[in-house]
Amino acid sequence: MTTLRIDNVSRWFGNVVAVNDISMTVGPGVTGLLGPNGAGKSTLINMMGGFLAPSTGSVTLDGQPIWRNEQIYRHIGIVPEREAMYDFLTGAEFVRANAELHGLGAKEAQHALATVEMEYAQDRKIATYSKGMRQRVKMASALVHEPSVLLLDEPFNGMDPRQRMQLMDLLRTMGAEGRTVLFSSHILEEVEQLAAHIEVVVAGRHAASGDFRKIRRLMTDRPHRYLVRSSDDRALAAALIADPSTAGIEVDVHEGVLRVQAVDFGRFTSLLPAVAQAHGIRLLTVSPSDESLESVFSYLVAA
């Protein structure tokens, strides 16, 4: 039970389309679901977790439907984004209750607590936990029955760097063991560090899918825009346009800047200082003008 299939799935809420005709297959290993806030990641994860019915299309695990099929939870572990979790229990009681609901007992609960290294605080009330501790107890509750599929919605939110590293190690291990691990994130670096395979969702649409390096290249190879101020804008413009790494240069007389469009990111970044030095031009400002994640994503959608 390891292959999640999403087939032509759409989901709308009233007039708002949250997920628009997405198909993807998620198999063993760690997969990152990447997209800006509001892209439909949580909607997708909720459908994969059986908490939301697709408006059209189907969501299945090895051919079995997930919606309205509680037996599927023998194979799925879920780490929700929301904070709330029986705060009046201690960590140990909470994980124990989760184990019992799977028909398991104290031994499995203890093992799960050990896996996330929360034994030291297991007898404290969850209400007293930090965000990172809550996250780890949530993990323990999702791992207690050794599921073959693990779904995590924004698991790194609110974690400090050390906790983040720890959780990444744990997820890597689980992926290496042949489990299907899918996590969502809106932070490129998180996904880059953890997932070999990524699925990009933008504005409810499936924007890209595949190997991280391939998508990273798509992202870095997109035309970059730079804003440059120098001691001699016109001379610099003339020198830069001679090189194939630039596609266009505008001399903005009003603002006193150069707007450069580079097509070869790597080559341009080494070319610019070299050209300036060769012509005795001083660079005063070099700043990328559209580096926001949204522009990266929207480029991917267009590609």
Binding site: T43, E70, R74, R82, M85, A97, L101, D153
Partner: protein
């Protein structure tokens, strides 16, 4: 059909929340009133039926039913922690039935038991009035718990809806419009009390058979529908 873990989570959640204080406050008030009346006016059957019928059964039982019935599931759905129950291979009707059992137990413990004690305080169970009202409170606890548990699964404003039903429908309309009384859990339960108590001590608007059929019917229907609702419970995304 019954899951001990779900029950444990439910009653700890019920008794651990701040609104649980109302579970203790109302019965305490009833007992204080009863003791005071007994001391001031002595044992009197009419006073006993007034207090037990007018306050205990008409107001206290439905209010405790609202707190226990909606509280058995509403807060979990509100804050999303119900995910941990639902992401388990446990049948949805089992979850609902277990929560109903806990809600009934809590409602009966905090309403039928104090009603019985208040009855003995008021007139020493003369004409079986204490037992009659205690039994009525117990059966009303079952129906109220089922109704308010269902409310907890279908609306985020279950407490408000429950209060409106308990206070406006059962108390106000029940007293003003005769027809409304036949559609009132309180009257159905009173039919049973009428049967138990001495001749003419307690009166109900509905017959015994009709009352019992309606009590059972409403309880079963509400529980079945709540189980269905839970099966297709949609947790809205955070986006």
């Amino acid at each position: 059909m019954y899951n001990a873990t779900v029950a444990r989570l439910t009653y700890r959640g019920l008794l651990g929340r701040r609104r649980a204080f109302i579970l203790f406050a109302l019965p305490a008030l009833l007992l204080v009133i009863s003791a005071a009346l007994r001391m001031l006016t002595g044992a009197d059957d009419q006073t006993a039926t007034d207090v037990l019928g007018g306050f205990a059964l008409a107001t206290m039982v439905p209010l405790i039913g609202v707190v226990a019935g909606t509280g058995a599931i509403g807060p979990e759905i509100d804050d999303g922690s119900v995910v941990y129950l639902l992401a388990k291979p446990v049948k949805r009707p089992t979850i609902i039935f277990t929560k109903l059992v806990v809600a009934v137990g809590v409602t009966a413990a905090f309403s039928a038991l104090p009603t019985l004690m208040a009855g003995f305080l008021l007139n020493g169970n003369s004409q079986q009035i204490a037992v009659a009202y205690a039994v009525a409170a117990a059966v009303a606890s079952v129906a109220y718990s089922a109704i308010f548990l269902l409310l907890g699964t279908i609306t985020r404003h279950a407490v408000v809806a429950g209060l409106v039903y308990a206070l406006v429908w059962e108390s106000l309309f029940g007293n003003l419009i005769p027809g409304a009384r036949t559609l009132s859990v309180q009257q159905w339960a009173l039919a049973l009390a009428q049967k138990i108590a001495g001749e003419g001590a307690i009166t109900s608007e509905v017959g015994l058979t009709q009352g019992l059929v309606l009590l059972v019917g409403v309880t079963v229907a509400a529980t079945w529908y709540a189980g269905r609702k839970l099966r297709t419970l949609t947790l809205a995304g955070e986006e």
